[in-house]
Symmetry: D3
Subunit: 314 residues, 6 copies
Amino acid sequence: MSKGIVYYEVGEHIEQFLLIKNAAKGIASNGKPFLTLIFQDQSGEIEAKLWDVSDGDEKNFIPETIVKVSGDILNYRGRNQLRIRQIRPASSSDSVKLSDFLETAPLSTEEMMSKITQYIFEMKNPNIQRITRHLLKKHQESFIEYPAATKNHHEFVSGLAFHVVSMLDLAKAIAGLYPSLDTDLLYAGVILHDLGKVIELSGPISTTYTVEGNLLGHITIMVNEIGKAAEELSIMGEEVIILEHLVLSHHGKAEWGSPKPPLIKEAEILHYIDNLDAKMNMLDRALERVKPGEFTERVFALENRSFYKPIFHK
Amino acid sequence: MSKGIVYYEVGEHIEQFLLIKNAAKGIASNGKPFLTLIFQDQSGEIEAKLWDVSDGDEKNFIPETIVKVSGDILNYRGRNQLRIRQIRPASSSDSVKLSDFLETAPLSTEEMMSKITQYIFEMKNPNIQRITRHLLKKHQESFIEYPAATKNHHEFVSGLAFHVVSMLDLAKAIAGLYPSLDTDLLYAGVILHDLGKVIELSGPISTTYTVEGNLLGHITIMVNEIGKAAEELSIMGEEVIILEHLVLSHHGKAEWGSPKPPLIKEAEILHYIDNLDAKMNMLDRALERVKPGEFTERVFALENRSFYKPIFHK
Amino acid sequence: MSKGIVYYEVGEHIEQFLLIKNAAKGIASNGKPFLTLIFQDQSGEIEAKLWDVSDGDEKNFIPETIVKVSGDILNYRGRNQLRIRQIRPASSSDSVKLSDFLETAPLSTEEMMSKITQYIFEMKNPNIQRITRHLLKKHQESFIEYPAATKNHHEFVSGLAFHVVSMLDLAKAIAGLYPSLDTDLLYAGVILHDLGKVIELSGPISTTYTVEGNLLGHITIMVNEIGKAAEELSIMGEEVIILEHLVLSHHGKAEWGSPKPPLIKEAEILHYIDNLDAKMNMLDRALERVKPGEFTERVFALENRSFYKPIFHK
Amino acid sequence: MSKGIVYYEVGEHIEQFLLIKNAAKGIASNGKPFLTLIFQDQSGEIEAKLWDVSDGDEKNFIPETIVKVSGDILNYRGRNQLRIRQIRPASSSDSVKLSDFLETAPLSTEEMMSKITQYIFEMKNPNIQRITRHLLKKHQESFIEYPAATKNHHEFVSGLAFHVVSMLDLAKAIAGLYPSLDTDLLYAGVILHDLGKVIELSGPISTTYTVEGNLLGHITIMVNEIGKAAEELSIMGEEVIILEHLVLSHHGKAEWGSPKPPLIKEAEILHYIDNLDAKMNMLDRALERVKPGEFTERVFALENRSFYKPIFHK
Amino acid sequence: MSKGIVYYEVGEHIEQFLLIKNAAKGIASNGKPFLTLIFQDQSGEIEAKLWDVSDGDEKNFIPETIVKVSGDILNYRGRNQLRIRQIRPASSSDSVKLSDFLETAPLSTEEMMSKITQYIFEMKNPNIQRITRHLLKKHQESFIEYPAATKNHHEFVSGLAFHVVSMLDLAKAIAGLYPSLDTDLLYAGVILHDLGKVIELSGPISTTYTVEGNLLGHITIMVNEIGKAAEELSIMGEEVIILEHLVLSHHGKAEWGSPKPPLIKEAEILHYIDNLDAKMNMLDRALERVKPGEFTERVFALENRSFYKPIFHK
Amino acid sequence: MSKGIVYYEVGEHIEQFLLIKNAAKGIASNGKPFLTLIFQDQSGEIEAKLWDVSDGDEKNFIPETIVKVSGDILNYRGRNQLRIRQIRPASSSDSVKLSDFLETAPLSTEEMMSKITQYIFEMKNPNIQRITRHLLKKHQESFIEYPAATKNHHEFVSGLAFHVVSMLDLAKAIAGLYPSLDTDLLYAGVILHDLGKVIELSGPISTTYTVEGNLLGHITIMVNEIGKAAEELSIMGEEVIILEHLVLSHHGKAEWGSPKPPLIKEAEILHYIDNLDAKMNMLDRALERVKPGEFTERVFALENRSFYKPIFHK
């Protein structure tokens, strides 16, 4: 297996299969067209330039195409860039497939569904349990494939489910230390909080926002879904409002998209657990690319901070 | 008919029926209990003190009781206060009734419903028309009685309906000048935008927030209602999302309670019309209590400004 | 008549007269100079590159020159760009003139002046009427030609006058619904509010800020003008201060350039009318360039929002 | 001469003449009226209560009356209060006069005017010199008596002139160290920057805001005055705009009331000098009332900070 | 054992020993002195008024005195207040002691020290371990007694140590789920983060800020202490800077008192753990005083929110 | 002596020695490598492009190399750029040295140290004097060479010392006008306030931040140094805390890096003096590059303002 694309250093030569994530045409100063390509493999992505492209090149090298590339890594404005020497589309005889190039969650979908099912099974309040099970089942197919976001954190295939599983484990550990917490609410809140993303986002690859996503957002979408689920299941207790509130408030503040701040203890903790797992994911991804004694690239979603890996961290 | 309570000046004597809006017990420095009463009539309200109260007084003088009061207006910390000399509960022979003391909209409920019905009738898009008509009918009874808010603007009986009627007229006038506006969306947006208040608030008198109001808010409540109405009426076009967006975004900004800002032209204008009518209501009420050449009391919902009435305004 | 420059799509060929709005020289990576030109017609503008320019080219292709251009539309970083194949300055025999390429108000200057004159005629307070008439007359020549701004809204020839006319009609419609409004103040406020721009800005074409505009701004400039007009006309009533306050406060908040917020009812409404008309102008211009089901480009002056045109809007 | 009112400690007895600054009537819990009086002498002020007042008391003890008071200092909610035992209006035989009780600048008005005149004399640019001299002369009578503000800093008789003199000395000292500064602009800016307060404020005693002050503010008022002065003196150079800009921008930021920030070097420095002198005045006044090792009361205009006087400061 | 003072309802009679936390003298409207007393027991505190006090009363009823009180609970402005009927200082024969009235951590100091010692024992990096052990030992006596704050959270005897123990358990649980975390840094960060409070605050009872606390703050104090400890122990690795950074950044943002934001992964997580434990403490304390279906009092340190206890939470 | 690099105008030819401050490799659209060089001399810097570079070029033209360059000044995106025609490394026979190209303070290091020593000599409080002298001596070697910052103000060799000397003179002048100021504290605060930069920054040339600088910052570093100095000198009075506070608070606000705002009068004034001297330095540098009647480039550290040089300023 070849080395991940983000681990190459300036000056190294590269020759391997890569997936085109993005392609944009430009016109060089000599008047000839060129392509700016973003290549992707499971380790991450790299920008590349293909000069003097023909009309055929433009048609061949489009997003979601796998190509065989050879070239050199150089530094452009402080970031690595790939200078392409040779490039050709992969053929069927190359026996490479899309999923080889997509980052995916470190757990299998079966493991993740099994863990989540177990958490739902542990719920004691039947209203909460039934609504959660109903909605998960309704959207399960997308849920298990979607990323948790288009960028920033868990932006990979099955990222949403993996984020939920990590949060459930975290919820269990914290509730073990603070027994006043209602685990039914916490688990249901974790499972439902981002489920609206299966309607807000377009799908697991080349993810964009749908019109409904843009105009309503995943929070409002999911609050509506809970309301309809309760009606369909003829559930009418205060649990319905509380579950809606947990989803509604999980971004924590109006400026961050929650029209009501958390007003239930478990809503406040849900917001925390969500944040903590997202931050750990972002920190680990940023830090694994630098060596001890170095600072990471700036991480936009962490207030643009650049983090330091201590020398004594091997 | 006696003079409105807010129009008395310091030093004047008063003797008339008033409604108790609020009553709170305190202990004076001589160790004896007293009551702080808020009296109300259609012109507004005034604070009063009743000293050395008996147990009977405490039971008699409770909110929503009509009383006959005599006393004097004095100034306490820059605001008028009523010093009670005599007070007794109204009896049936006094032939006074609750509605005599409640401020109410200047149009009759029939006139208002007739105007709104006409606006719905003018809608050309059947999906928008059917959803609007369905929801108005479902909540009509409360809609026609509720205030538009617990304070700040249109905080009187039928204030919500009156606010809607004023906004509809404004929408029509503006759309007459900017013909690119879709009046179906504008009218529907105006009628539905605050309709969730009939669930958020407790009722037309002594209005407070319900639990659902506190945890979800009228915006989320109404967006849910639109979703359920569409399901019930089997309507599935983009109109549903657009109507939900109009309600969702009508506060204009995340900090003001709209998780999505207006992203449709008519949503932006709806936000404007709402604001303009609310401001006119607040300005008129503040200015009608001062004379030319004076400044009003500070108006909290208008950034705490104190407005000036020019000398040449009679 | 040829198609407006902003309506071409990528891949289309173009051959027509255009006005050079802006020209900047650069050095290409082969060491040869090139020009980045901004072309303009009444529909809007487009960027273009002219490679390998001679000294003569540099001298010929300067701002406010009309040229005959042929070339192709391509996409560069998500925006249309024109790749020039041939370009030559227009000659007198081409019978094209500057005003063919400048966007201008949809009403003639005569119509606009006639409407404004009528509004002044309707004023009842002689002090307000005389000051307004005096200042309009003093600056009429520039007023009727200037844009309302260098960008964002009404940034076209006679944009200022057109903005004023629209606002006057809006003021009249609103005052019809809220009869407590003083139309003398509203009309005078509308006419004077941005009149200082005739001193703040350099002129109707290639508009920039003057030194006085940079150091004082159109609000302060106009407040001074009102003061001097009153002195010249020997007017001394409170109307002078009120008119100065209307202009001073019309941006609504200190952060937006008004050292005093509106403290008169009509000042608050003036701020609203100004905003509403500017927003309608920006929204219409952004939306007329997209098809139903699409989002507009981000509009900077509307908090960088991207607006959606519903599918059911033809 | 008796001890200043602010230097008494809890438990001390007091018997001396004081000036009534403010009087407000209240009703005690026994139903009897009382007066809350603010007494003032040159050292500062103290609150006092007069219980069981007669109608005569109410008429005698009004603002700007001198009274002979005896009573005791007690502590009420952490602040000193005077409990009145005896009080009577001063008679002509008491030979006390208003100015004995008003705090005033530490320099005589003659000294101050002489210093300012000298600074104007030193100006080299005739346009700047003439405008400054003209405006100072026009408003000299008020200028020499007014406070610099109604509260916060230099809020005493002739406080405005004293603030200007201190700032002129500071300007001279700073310009001595940074010779690139234009002292003409600095001196003129210092003299004119707050001169509009003679129109914004009501007068030297019991100072309030005028209508013009409320609606326009001293900055706009003075910019207008400069414009009119230039017209009257037929001065037309860029100096006029620059002087207007100095006054316009001297609050430093839009949020602080300057629609344009300083865009001239001397405008930036003027803002600094103004701030520095105001802060020194507030700090000295707050610190002279505490002993080494103590914190001052919170100073509102210094971000509500409480300052510490080090133990080694005697 | 008598019922906790915060659990009494309006109208109930009370007769028990209480600790005076605060006493302030006032003058009633009849001219007689009274005392406002704050009583405290382990459940919380209540305000009380003692009317017509003698000089002896003033001397007897001072802070940190235990008294026997009888009286009635009444409601004053929405909060409970105690109306004292009888009050006397406790005598030695009453066999009550100070610690009976002070809220204290739910774990014994021995248990807490033993847990913390165990965590230090588990550290693997000797530099981190030695500095942590040295500083804990140096300040152990105060550390084990101090509250974690003067108000908001863990504001009880040994609150600081209890907060640290809870955070250590939380750190361990989280590190169990995210194995990339360096537990040495997390544990050391937890133990040291607020240790500077033993210098910032005056002591375990009637806690106030010291001069050093006011001028430097516990963060700066502790960073200095780490620097000195390293010098004393002749430790020079990067661990010293990293430990200083953990303490320096643990408030998360400049506005919250950390001049540097967390730039080490463990620093970011430390900030989270600190927040989470503080919030759980505040939420539990607020919610245990209300019944299901009620909202709590507003919690200032939680953005002034009022939290809801669901009906289905017994 | 040749003309400073920043004073050339577009179109001029240049031929002189320059220092390479920065070099970055890029790949041109023809596939050939090029270098973007930043050249520097005492007047400032300019960007240049070297096309078609060989491997030898890459090795020769690296930062801190002196080169002989000939070429032409052109305009690229509104800024001057140098188009290189010929370039060669300087040889020993060229008799040019590094310091010829570095901007440096206008006073010699001897003069500056002598002035600072004199100010320390004038201190009367022995504790303050001994700590100041001790720390200056400890870091003197770096202090006298370091810039005051990496950009914005006094970013030249010995900039830190020059900034300190200017501030000392300013402190003396201001204290002369406000005699209540403690000059010992002011002088010590000035000398120590930025001394931590000798640890925060890497050195006088090509200055970057050290790890300690990034994680702690110069304020925290210096507060620690004062604490250690006091311990070493066995000084224990309140002066230590006060000096630490002066350094800690000199950025004025939490958002600007001071965890405590100034709470001592001299701390507030120190913050002012620091700001004033930095601003004068930035203003003078920006204004000396434009002619009367022009605006400067935007100055980032002065809220991105562009300053005007009046026409009557020669």
